[in-house]
Assembly symmetry: C4
Homo-oligomer: 202 residues x 4
């Protein structure tokens, strides 16, 4: 299978997952005597979670592309590790719905936030595993020869992304809001030109 085919299918799954995120927002049906503006504002956690998840998936799409485009050929393990990565991405609309629904509720918000950050962490681990396979085990599939030291550095940076998510899982039991904020900060950090340009140059 060609690199282009793998990329097109991955882009398809990521495009569907990122667009399905908005389905969880939900139109308030009964206003219970309040105004619609009140009901919409009470739904703020859904918009916040939408923005954080959309940005995160968008960044992952950019990084996924940067990684795959380094390849001239793919092997069976890349296909399968990529499938695992897509499996963790396709589950994010569920995780987003979960944290948005439970944020601020008296019961379950810590669990919901931990699961949310945990799904991002899982995605990071899958991304790291795919990166590791490409950069360390099958470097001969790369378009250009890259020195081992440099490949190791790219990998370290890719894996470093999972650390704040691990912290966000732990912070969920302090405050679910904190978890969402940390996830948002990670997304914004990677979206900033400086950070991402660095990621690209590598």
């Amino acid at each position: 299978m060609g690199v282009g085919r793998l990329e097109a299918f991955s882009d398809g799954v990521i495009a569907v997952a990122i667009t399905l995120l908005a389905l969880q927002i939900g139109v308030p049906d009964h206003l219970h005597g309040h105004s619609l503006a009140h009901a919409l504002l009470a739904n703020w956690s859904h918009y916040a979670a939408y923005v954080v998840s959309f940005t995160t998936i968008g960044i992952i799409w950019i990084n996924h592309h940067a990684m795959i485009s380094r390849l001239k050929r793919i092997d069976q393990s890349i296909l399968l590790l990529n499938l695992v990565l897509l499996m963790t991405i396709a589950v994010l609309p569920f995780a987003t719905d979960l944290i948005a629904t439970y944020l601020g509720r008296p019961t379950g918000q810590s669990t919901a936030a931990a699961v949310y950050a945990g799904c991002f962490m899982l995605m990071g681990v899958a991304f790291g595993a795919l990166n590791r396979h490409i950069l360390i085990r099958r470097a001969e599939l790369l378009e250009e020869r890259v020195p081992l030291a440099e490949r190791r550095q790219i990998l370290r940076r890719a894996i470093a992304g999972t650390i704040p998510y691990l912290a966000a899982v732990g912070l969920a039991f302090v405050s679910a809001y904190l978890t969402l904020i940390v996830c948002g900060v990670v997304a914004v950090y990677y979206a900033l030109p400086a950070a991402s340009r660095r990621a690209f140059v590598d």
Copy 2:
């Protein structure tokens, strides 16, 4: 990342968002003693909102394509501004559901209409920001050299599109129906060969 890749991903998100619009129509479940024809006709706001939103997203797809196809390369800011634009497009099925659900209800229809037109306006602002970055700040990425005066004119026209949406937000508090009509007129106007050909020629 190549221009083609950015376009393919954007097309994917836009294609999913435009097709999800129909999910909000919804099959009437209980007829409450009325005929199905009656129940379907009572749902007219869902069809009207579907047509307006579908046409608008379709026009945005055409314009997005016209803008991106002017590029020979993309930079990191284009990637991110494009992601913000897609974020405002992916939310439109929600906004469409919102206005369709509340149009004609005694409570909330002004708010729903204002949010609907506000989402279109947001999309227009994101589109304008992306256009501005391409045409003014990074004109060297354009396929062909275009004089500054002409680039400014293209940008002015792109930004002009947000003005009727701003008006539509205000009109929501006069009549929610008026908001939907204005949004529909904007879509039809940009769909008319003359207007859009002008937009293309630029």
Copy 3:
């Protein structure tokens, strides 16, 4: 805009619409003392409507491709007529849900069936209008020169497809089942190698 871009976007919308069809099937939630097998069999209209709609959209995809691939360039009217066609395709998951839900119910099944066949007819009309524009008004956009007589014949065949749907709308008031059968027969007829090969050769 290139022909390839138009095709890719149309393929995207059609692929999403055809896959969303299955969402309307729905898992029975309460068994009301019956077995699950009983509840699943009672849902037969959803499977029948799924197969008919899936086949029909699949055939339309094939025909859409055959038509677009005849073009070497596209104009603004093709873009817009194509958008209208996609608008009628994206609404088919709703129409499929409608007939599947009401088939066999004491109230509303004729209306549901008429709307279902009416949506197919609308799709046929949009397809005919797009065909007519390409074949008669803008024949210079065709990849190869085709004599007018032959172009008229292709158009007549494309338009002929709407006649059975018109009949199916009328038959809805005799029997909703008959409508679904006619729509299914049309799909099977166009799917048969002989008929479609003829459509292709033209």
Copy 4:
């Protein structure tokens, strides 16, 4: 129609179907006095079914690609058999929701599991029919000349995949859990580099 077009459309349908799988997971709404962690754990069948179905569709995507990429041209029957295959894939989110909902319930779990494995079997049969048409009946459409004995062997292996699904249908009446396990084992088996490399080499 070119091979690339057929592949792109099929990839689109498969990408949407695989991503819709996660919609069936569902966020628990009422906790009935339990913790959210308890409610999420009680939903385990949804995660298990998600992983099994996602992996299976992923493998089918890889095999579909391997098969289509052997072609230099396509005929009308390939188009239609491929449409039937896609019809069986697009229904898998429903089948996944069905088994995940009924697994462990006192009523209906055998039926749900039998339908689940039955849908996979149907997909296998459609895949086999498409393979048979390509390999035996229209071998002249293949990119490279492959001896008949070898083509028969590839076909036998493709068809062999339906046997464990047939067994899984039968096992549903012993234990629904067993059915899910068998389907999972089949997916893992085909995902293992050795097995799939063999499938690729053929």
